[in-house]
Structure formats: structure tokens, C-alpha cells
């Protein structure tokens, strides 16, 4: 089976648009070739348009009363492969393709850069890397005017600087970070967590692993504990819908994992983290980070988190002030776990200490609640057995 897209044809005499008068078919209908499918009105006449193929209507576009330009995809048929006609001969009056959707117009079609030979020569002569140029033409094709925004390599300029265009993932990151910092009154909260017991559990579990199995990091433990804790702090597992002025509380905890990739920061999402066990969480985090790092993560896998965890591992430092991943209201950062001298029962002793550096949206999370949530998280992490005991 294949799809056949029927575009509004030029109904003669240079028609540029037609008004839909009545649909004779709807999605799901089976039609036979030449059956009347839609009545349209041009500025010259009302025309009954026949079906060009036999098949099942998958979708129709436009309501009676809508004016649609010639070339607009009107109706999509599902047809058996053998019945699919060859691609129609070029329609004399087919207008230029509609402008590409915003957000997608990079001049790359799959892995191929789309540009006319003339523009490729112009780019080559000007030292412009077409891969860095956004195409504004049909299908993201790079037009001559787009070259003006192209990157010139350092060698081209007298200054020893390199200009890197802010595009793609980097542009999205930049916009989202700016928006978060501009609209969210962040407050940071840093607490130290004694992870000595967690470390011994982690070492024990890793020691029992068969060789190729990857070792556990702190991250799945923190995600596990966080999912448990948020059951008691629903105000931190919230998305703010600014357009409607509504806070949307989520029963499920979808944890975003801030991940460094060659393209920049991405946040793949562990869905319903509260329903996963430790090993499942570890595997899922690993799977998602790998996919994000290799550029395979789907849009689905990169959206929908309700709270985010960020960890720089060995680069974690002492404290940090993470930026909230809008429209969430909280982000939890892990700092580096190191052995430190601490005082316990009046004596100095060596313990493994890891700081948690978190930020909250002060509009919706009060300091008291944020502190209580982090303390609850600390409690679970310092006594790891409690992570595996359901809430009483």
C-alpha cells in the first residue's frame, strides 16, 4: 500500500485558487477512480473534481468556504502499490511549494545539502561552508540570499577570530536558557549529602556484576530517590503553563537527564521513573544518553520531562546553580562525591560527601518546600535502604 497525495489542480485558464464548496467524501471512505470527490468554485465556474485514483481516503484538507491555492494537497488516498499512478506530469500552474515550517529550514535534506550548483560555486568562491547555512527555499534549499548569512572561515578574515553561527541545537539551547533566566526567579539551594553508605552499596552491586555489564553510577540512585520523594512534594513535579496561567501537577515523574552531547546540551527523558527499579533506571538512563549523544534520540525521547537532574560526574565541582528546564519548576544538580573530613559525634572522621545543588522557581515553590524536599532526598540517599521501601 502507498499514499497518493492529490493536489488541487489548475482547473484551467490560469486559475490560482479555488473555494471548496462541498466535500463528497470524508476520511475512511473508499472511492473509485473518476468518482466525484469535491466540488470547488473557481472565479470562473463550479467544478466537480473527480478522484484520480481508486483507494481509501486517509485525510482531506480544508472546510467548505475555504479558499485554497492551486497545488495545495487536498486529499490523501491510500492506494495499493500497483495502482499508484506514476508521479503526475508537472502541472503547468503548480505554484512554488509552501514555505517550509519554521524551525526546520536548515539547508540539509537528510544528510545532503540542498543548493543549486550556482550557489555551491558562490559558496566555494566565498569560502562559505554550506553546512552552516540555513536554507530558506523550498525543502530547505539554500538560496543565494541565504549565503549572505554563511560562515566564513578564519583564514578569510584579517582578524584571528572564528565566527560560529548560532544555529540548530545551539540556538534552541540559547533561546531556552535565556527564556528560563529571564522569566524564572531562580533560587539555589545547596546541601551536602553523606553518600558513604550509598557508595558501599554501589560498590557492592558493581562488584557482583559480570564483566561487560556497565557499572552503576550515582545517577540512577538519585533518580530513584527523587521519584520516591516527589510523591510527597507534588508542588515540585509541576509544569507551568504560562499561556493559561495554570500549574499542571503530574502524578508520574518524568525525569530529564541533562546530557552533554557533541551538539551541546540535550535532555532525554526517563518516563515514569517511579515505576522503574534501580537496574531498569540505570539501563534506561544509559540507553537514552547514548541515543542523545549519537543524535538518534527521537523528539519523543527529548521532551516531556517534569523535573530534571543534572550531573557532571567527576567535573561536578563543589556547588553549582543549574538553570531550570522550562516549563519545569525544579532542577537537581549532583556535585562531585569526594571523601572529606567531617565531624561525627564530636570526632573527625572521613566520609564520602556529595553536594546537591538545586534550583527552584520561586514563583511556585516556596523556600520551605524546596528545602524540605531536598532534605527528604538527602534522607533517602544517606540511608539507601529507604529508597527501596515504599512510602508509609
Amino acid at each position: 500500500m502507498s499514499q497518493y497525495v492529490f493536489k488541487l489542480p489548475d482547473l484551467g485558464e490560469g486559475t490560482v485558487e479555488a473555494e471548496i464548496v462541498a466535500w463528497h467524501v470524508k476520511a475512511g471512505d473508499a472511492v473509485v477512480e473518476d468518482q466525484k470527490i469535491v466540488e470547488v468554485m473557481t472565479d470562473k465556474a463550479a467544478v466537480e473534481v473527480p478522484a484520480p485514483v481508486s483507494g481509501v481516503v486517509l485525510s482531506v484538507t480544508g472546510e467548505p468556504g475555504d479558499k485554497v491555492p492551486v497545488g495545495t494537497p487536498l486529499i490523501i488516498f491510500e492506494v495499493s502499490a500497483s495502482a499508484a499512478p506514476a508521479p503526475a506530469t508537472p502541472q503547468p500552474a503548480a505554484p512554488a511549494a509552501p514555505p517550509p515550517a519554521a524551525g526546520a529550514p536548515v539547508g540539509v535534506h537528510g544528510a545532503r545539502i540542498m543548493a543549486s550548483p550556482a550557489n555551491r560555486r558562490r559558496a566555494r568562491e566565498a569560502g562559505i561552508d554550506l553546512a552552516a547555512v540555513r536554507g530558506s527555499g523550498p525543502g530547505g534549499r539554500i538560496l543565494r540570499d541565504d549565503l549572505a548569512s554563511g560562515v566564513r572561515p578564519a583564514a578569510q578574515s584579517a582578524e584571528s577570530t572564528t565566527e560560529i553561527k548560532v544555529i540548530g541545537v545551539r540556538r534552541v539551547i540559547a533561546e531556552r536558557m535565556s527564556e528560563a533566566k529571564r522569566t524564572i526567579p531562580h533560587f539555589a539551594y545547596v546541601e551536602e549529602v553523606d553518600v558513604s553508605e550509598l557508595e558501599s552499596l554501589r560498590r557492592h552491586l558493581n562488584g557482583a556484576l559480570i564483566a561487560p555489564a556497565p557499572a552503576l553510577t550515582y545517577l540512577p540512585f538519585v533518580v530513584l530517590a527523587l521519584a520516591r520523594v516527589l510523591e510527597s512534594f507534588p508542588q515540585c513535579n509541576v509544569l507551568y503553563d504560562a499561556a493559561r496561567g495554570v500549574l499542571v501537577r503530574h502524578r508520574a515523574v518524568h525525569v530529564g537527564i541533562a546530557t552533554q552531547t557533541p551538539d551541546g546540551l540535550k535532555v532525554p527523558v526517563v518516563r515514569s521513573a517511579g515505576t522503574l527499579g534501580l537496574w531498569e533506571l540505570a539501563a534506561e538512563i544509559r540507553r537514552l544518553s547514548d541515543r542523545a549523544r549519537t543524535g538518534q534520540a527521537t523528539r519523543q525521547e527529548l521532551t516531556g520531562s517534569t523535573i530534571t537532574v543534572t550531573s557532571l560526574g567527576k567535573l561536578g565541582g563543589i556547588a553549582s546553580t543549574p538553570v531550570i528546564n522550562t516549563p519545569e519548576v525544579a532542577i537537581v544538580g549532583l556535585n562531585k562525591a569526594v571523601e572529606r573530613p567531617v565531624v561525627r559525634d564530636g570526632a573527625i572522621t572521613v566520609r564520602r560527601i556529595m553536594n546537591l545543588s538545586s534550583s527552584f522557581d520561586h514563583r511556585f515553590v516556596d523556600g520551605y518546600d524546596a528545602a524540605a524536599m531536598i532534605q527528604a532526598l538527602k534522607e533517602r540517599l544517606e540511608h539507601p535502604a529507604t529508597m527501596f521501601i515504599p512510602k508509609v
Binding site: P90, Q91, P92, A93, A94, A96, S116, P117, A118, N119, R120, R121, G137, P138, R141, L143, R144
Partner: protein, 338 residues
Amino acid sequence: MAQMNMVQALNSAMDIMLGRDPSVVLMGEDIGYFGGVFRTTEGLQRKYGEHRVLDTPIAEGGIVGAAIGMAVNGLRPVAEIQFADYIYPGFDQIVSELARLRYRSAGDFTAPVTIRTPCGGGIRGGQTHSQSPEAMFTHVSGLKVVMPSNPHDAKGLLITAIEDDDPVIFFEPKRLYNGPFDGDPNKPAVPWSTHPKGEVPEGHYTVPLGRADIVRAGAQLSIITYGTMVYVAQAAAAALELDAEIIDLRSLVPLDVDAICSSVKKTGRCVVAHEATRLSGFGAEIAAIVQEECFWHLEAPIQRAAGWDTPYPHAFEWEYFPGQARLAAAIRAAMEPA
């Protein structure tokens, strides 16, 4: 200067050559006593005699074969094939003998034969009086292939062809005999007497082979064409209000590659138009040359407007003929944003 239509201009060319060169002879079906079905040779037998202007049997293989024999023996025959649609019985003689004579004899013999033949549609001639087989002859090494689009060029090119020591296939777009034609059969016919290219010098002059005519200089796209389509192209580009450069090739072999390529390098966009069927038409050769020579200057894919890949129809002449609408579609495609 005299006003002539294309028939008169061709007649004048042959008249002048018969007068200048005693080795020139005309031969063909009904060209002598009758003066030719299109009147192209009218009065010439009366003026030069039956030994200079010969009526032949209806046998195109014989016409071409006899012309070759006469040429080898020092004459300069101008053979008429009444319609290009009838040329195929002579095709073997043309390909196997005429085209190769100089090569096969290592230059000892040449074949200064001109074969004139009316071509193209637009006259309700159906499949046997409307064909445009020029591409077949461009494929045969050793032949020169010419197609004028107006009386001035027709006379100058025919004189050049007759004076050429090698064989020339000279196609005459019959729809243009009496006037330019923009592809719209419903418009009143336009006579050459109102067209600047209908001004034809009375005496001897030549138009060189291999030199295209830039009919209209323009900056936005190049339309490469010849024959009847020259006028269709002008009308289509004008209707679209485009600043098109229109190139009339005039001769396909030799081909004015420089004119084509300097134009396409200037405009970056190219449409090729001819009446003949699209598949393996001469437009394919031009498109290939353009992409070889001008690839890095192309803003959009090269487009072709041509006859459909069917025999020339009896009833649907204007559905078949590549008129302004088909050319406009090709032009629009070539004007894709870049």
C-alpha cells in the same frame, strides 16, 4: 530591401546559386514543371531548363543516391524531399553513403549535396506531414543539420549549405513559410511582410553555419530553441513578463556551443524547446552540453519543452504541439527560487 516570405527567400537562394554556379542542379518530386508543392522552386525550371531543375520519380532512396553520384562527379545537387516524413527511404543512402563519403575515401571525394526538406507541424498535416526528425541526422557523423526560422536566415543559410563541400540536411519549418507563428492557432496569421526578418536582400549573401542568433538578449533565463519554437518562446516569455534571452540555433550541426554557454552562464537558467519528440530529442544533447559546460552556474534544473513521445496525431494537433502553455510550465520550473 525586398520583403519575402520564406518560400520566396528559399527560391531566391536557389535562383542565385543556379545562376552563379553551373554545377548546381535541383532535383525532387514535382519541383520542376509544377514548381514544388510549397512553390519553393516555382519558375526555376522554366528559367534554367529541365537539365538543371529535374523532376524525379517518387523514390527518395533514388533521389539521394542519384544526388550522391552527381556530387561525386562534380555537380552540386540540391535535392528536395517533399516532406521530412518521406525521408526515411533515403535514410540508408544518407547515413551509409552520403555522410561517409569524404571519410571513406580519405578525402579524395566529397559529397556537396544539400537535402532540403520541409518539417514540423502546425498545418493539420497529421502524422505523415508534420514530423521533426532533425535529431536523427545530428546523430550521424558527417552531416550538417540546419533549420532556419525566418526568410532572411533561410536564404543566407541555404546559400551557405549549397556552397558547402559536405552534405547538409536543410530542414524548413513549413509552418513558418508564410509567417511567424507563436503557437496559438486561433490568432490570425501574421505575414512575413510585417516582420523585420522578412526583409531579405535580393542578391547573394550568406549566413554562416554554427553561428546562433540571439533573437532577444535577456538576463533572467536562456531559452535555447530553433525553428517554429523561436516564436513560441518569445510569446511565452513575454506573457510571463520575463527578461528571457532567446537563442535561435539556426544550425544544430555545427552547434554554436559558445553562444549557448555564455548565455546560460550569464542567466543561470536554461529551457530547451523544440517541436520534435522529447525522448532523445536534440534538447537532450543541449541539456547535456549545458550541464557539462555550465554546471557551476546553474541556479535550477535545465528544463525541456517538446512534443510528446507519440507519433504526430491527426486530431489532437494542438494538444501535441508544444505551445505557449507547455513552454510556460518549463519556464516556471526553470525559474524556481535559487
